[in-house]
Symmetry: D2
Subunit: 362 residues, 4 copies
């Protein structure tokens, strides 16, 4: 029924499998011979930064445009932590802890991982357990808290939750940095009650992810605290993260925020995800984590998990037991109705075939 090619037709592997929204590329196309200053000192980067400062109601924020999530995380953390013995507190499932090949450690800093649960979220209590444990010159000095919005497990922090964390950080001399690789989807989530201005007010730095939300590539790193902004350009260059043609990121963000395209794309992702979640629930499958954004984690019998993974390019997040897996389904700005229908139909087919019933019976 499904052919190998369908993987490339209907991909739910991630939100960076398709190039970019046509408007984004068009904005580069129309300016392909325009002369611009190099290394991000151009008018497009300036204009995009201004748009972002306005959205964030943070007129004095510093904005830097970078090429991807890992460099943005490394840069933000290095910028705040000037001494290698200063450390980052992160949830055990945090991207910097598990999926960046030790990039933070390569920059010299320890990642103190705290045992967040299935929702992948930090709390003041979890942070405090790490803070209380450390002291004296024989241990690293926790200095920055790292969290992701949405998290690596698709969940989001509420305004109350983020406020509590922010207050803890400020009263304990910790910087707060929010990884916004999927901030678009988080902001457009139905349950979300945070806007960019809230995030700017509560965090010392955060980034607005473009790569996973319809841009060719690019992240907008926003610093609302000025502790790190004097030396950003040296750090960016020394790490190898400075783009000669920085303006091509500026142009993309200009286009993304000019007319709400950024938010429309994120909303689309969430709507596609919602339809799939409805299909999953209707068919009696259980979710692994609470669904809130464009990432869905569904529990399936191993055999089905592998089939879904093969047909739709999904990633098996975790092998829960010998016969049950959690599978990740991700929607993107480019997910089509056809694709949503196809994956929904797959779930329905499995349901009808009674495979589920057998599974439940066991």
């Amino acid at each position: 029924m499904y052919t190998a090619n369908e993987v490339e037709k209907y991909s739910f592997r991630n939100d960076y499998s398709e190039g970019a929204h046509p408007f984004i590329i068009q904005s580069l196309f129309t300016r392909c011979t325009e002369v611009n200053l190099p290394y991000g000192a151009d008018k497009h980067s300036d204009a995009a930064a201004d748009m972002i400062r306005k959205l964030c109601k943070a007129p004095n924020a510093e904005v830097a445009f970078l090429a991807g999530g890992t460099p943005t995380n490394v840069l933000a953390i290095s910028a705040f932590l000037r001494n290698a013995y200063e450390a980052v507190i992160a949830p055990v499932s945090g991207h910097v802890n598990v999926h960046e090949t030790g990039a933070i450690e390569y920059s010299g800093h320890k990642v103190i991982d705290v045992p967040s649960g299935l929702d992948g979220k930090l709390t003041p209590e979890l942070i405090d357990s790490a803070v209380s444990f450390h002291g004296g010159e024989h241990m690293v000095v926790p200095k920055l808290v790292y969290l992701s919005q949405s998290t690596e497990l698709g969940t989001i922090y509420s305004k109350a939750e983020l406020t509590a964390i922010s207050e803890y950080c400020r009263s304990h001399g910790l910087y707060l940095f929010l990884d916004g690789a999927r901030l678009g989807s988080a902001l457009m989530a139905k349950e979300n009650d945070l806007d960019l201005a809230d995030i700017a007010a509560l965090c010392d730095a955060f980034y607005i992810g473009g790569t996973k939300n319809g841009l060719l590539f690019g992240e907008a790193l926003v610093f609302t605290d000025n502790s790190a902004t004097d030396h950003l350009r040296w750090l960016i260059k020394q790490h190898g993260f400075m783009l000669a043609k920085g303006y091509i990121v500026g142009m993309q963000f200009e286009e993304a925020f000019r007319d709400g395209l950024f938010f429309k794309m994120a909303k689309h992702e969430n709507e596609c995800a919602e339809k799939i979640v409805e299909a999953i629930r209707r068919c009696g499958f259980e979710l692994y984590t609470k669904w809130q954004t464009n990432q869905i984690f569904v529990i399936l019998p191993t055999k089905l998990a592998e089939e879904l993974s093969e047909k739709f390019g999904c990633f098996i997040e975790s092998r829960l037991t010998d016969d049950r897996c959690a599978v990740r389904i991700v929607t993107s700005w480019a997910t089509t109705d056809d694709a949503v229908d196809a994956i929904s139909a797959w779930f329905l087919a499995k349901f009808c075939a009674g495979i589920i019933k057998d599974y439940i019976r066991k």
Copy 2:
């Protein structure tokens, strides 16, 4: 006569002030919703790598696509030098020695700078002076030679010169890495007698620069020696250099090499430069270094240097004396006839105004 806006109209600041050749962006545009595997494991990167292997007559070469010159240099050097006490020999004017904010040192390695002359070129003798000096565990271990083609001063190595260096390296256990940020222009230089297959045969690794030759961004790093290829992907990721949408670099190189566009753009740069060099010579100005590629270094009285710099965005390379400077003029894939005429006219105007005569009289 010149307005502030003309800087942006006629820029000779560098070869990365204009976005990209329309065909390059078109290749992304037409595939904007195409589904591809992430992190460079896609069919476009594969196809582009194959094209490069063919051009290099190196069927077993490993090709990695990266986002810019500094990350490519850091990666190649880190890949070969597994131990921090192993060092790079570079000309004192080498990009890794002076213009990368200590990125190589940040990765732990010493850059041993040897006093290359005005042409910015290494020789076996210069390399040997560094090799002979080092020995024993109290000194770093020279392990890799870094050079650029074309050099930072616009000159190129001949086949005889590169062969001599390659032979020295091989007989002394040194890797040879060629920084090809401007390899296109070097390959299309009138005096050039090296092709990609020669370079692949003589070097252990090198890169073909896209950013400075008409791509939006992207460098193709080619390893012909397999000492470093087993762990490239871990290194790329850990350094923060792995692009989620690696395929957008693959697509660009595919387009660049599909039909000779890469070489046509480089040829255009050199032809524009040649016209400007003719104008400079006709007007009696002296060149600072031998002209061979798309970078021209001209000696001017300080006042004129500053005027040229202001009108055409040129970079003052060096203040030779209180009243004489070397100014860099760079042509790009996007340099227009109008721009060439404008800068040539400027030289002619200065000549006619007799400023030169005064200068020569002194």
Copy 3:
């Protein structure tokens, strides 16, 4: 009853509060003007290394003498892990994970901490949980297992336990490194069934700690696997760990192993500890971890913990609840009968005063 000065009279703070055994210093004294080659290339270091090779029945082992525990751990780990993306698996309570101010991370490597229990010991199962979790270029590569003998909690691995771990490591391509800061005490423990030859056979590297066993300072790092031995001296020097007068460590180990002094001192430590443990048990106090070596962890009401800590310089290991602490008591080569009697008397006094009873009643 106790004066401030008594802390310095009867210290159970650690096993490095007293300079060195008189015979050790005498060995330096008698050779104070003897000429020796620098940087560890001397006859005393050679002789000490030979003694160690014999004790280890490892005639081809490489032995390096270093100044302390942290440099020895950093060196051993760096020597095996040539690439920064390679990581160390350690128990969460491992010295390299918590008490070296991120020294391993400073050298670029991630420490993967696994949740060892109260005994501070690894098992093949715990190691496997970390190994199974990691895979692919987006994660670090576990490459070395770190454990301590005795552990940071005073316990020891049996021959069966260490053999199981060694077998796991060898069948999974992992190096095994044993931190022997307190190896002397472990080897002389009553329950110990491992000798130096066993340890040399089961581990790829380990060290014999001198600083915590009666030497002025010095650790003998033994490599039985030759993967790392070709470049040790460069690494030692680059890290700043090479002693100009390396022979003064060689002389100390020569003296320590010449006539069994090393083992006598360790035995003395354990015997003192045993007497204190007897007193503790007789008085009805509970131990926090199983007692086996020269570190005793006893659970006390907070008030008593603080008093013990103040009187005898003990370290409060952990605040278990608001009113109970685990306190660490350490004996050394220099612990006197007087000191043992004094601390035993303190426990007895508390017992008699009925404070314990009250505590239990609560």
Copy 4:
């Protein structure tokens, strides 16, 4: 005439071939069972630091005791340069530039080497050439000047010279750090006009070398500028430089400064050197660099250089031409009259044999 054993009898290899002055070791011996606080927080380190503050007339200086020259250099430089893109300016012959296996680069910082001459000394002009060259975020930021007193070539800075450098540094926002591995010999040089208080006033940090002046090991690092002192202990620990028994360095410095022993030993070195220099001059040999301290560099025909090297363990500093070498002769606190007579006799013997005449004739 000379036997192989004489090398160990009469060594002029360096000033760290003999253990330590008997009084130094005695000071450890008499306190071998004394209880002290660990990690340098003890009363002996405090007392020694106080003595040093008094000698330096710097009551607020911070003093840290370390185990050797390389760790002290790495620590001082890391302490001032909190960001890796900040760089050290050093003479090309500076110890940190050539003889520490890239330890500074391993800590992330570039060493900008300036072409000092045969005397191995910096000048404000040389420093300024490096400062003027650097600017902007594409280059490292020079932030600290490193020099040695005495230099690696045995010469010393006069008060006027060091003052000029200090003034340059202060007016250009550069820290000044003086490597005092051989500060004792420099301070006791006949031509010296600097005392410890001058050095403390002119430099932001410097160290007083014990290892090369009669201690078992140990350097006293003095910070007169407080920019780096808040986080020294974290840095020391993270680098692996913190000694568990820090008090054994404190005890040695206490003894060295209690009664002038430190200066007496340095004076002895210089006096021995002076006698040898007299013999060399009397015999018509030429010095390679100006003689001022306990290092003598003499030019010899290669054959004689090799003989001297073999007989007296001297180091061939440089092969000047095919038939002439510069040889280093170093005296130490332990150099005997016998040794001075023996090497003087060797020069006389060569003179008498007419070898010199032949050499001069050529």
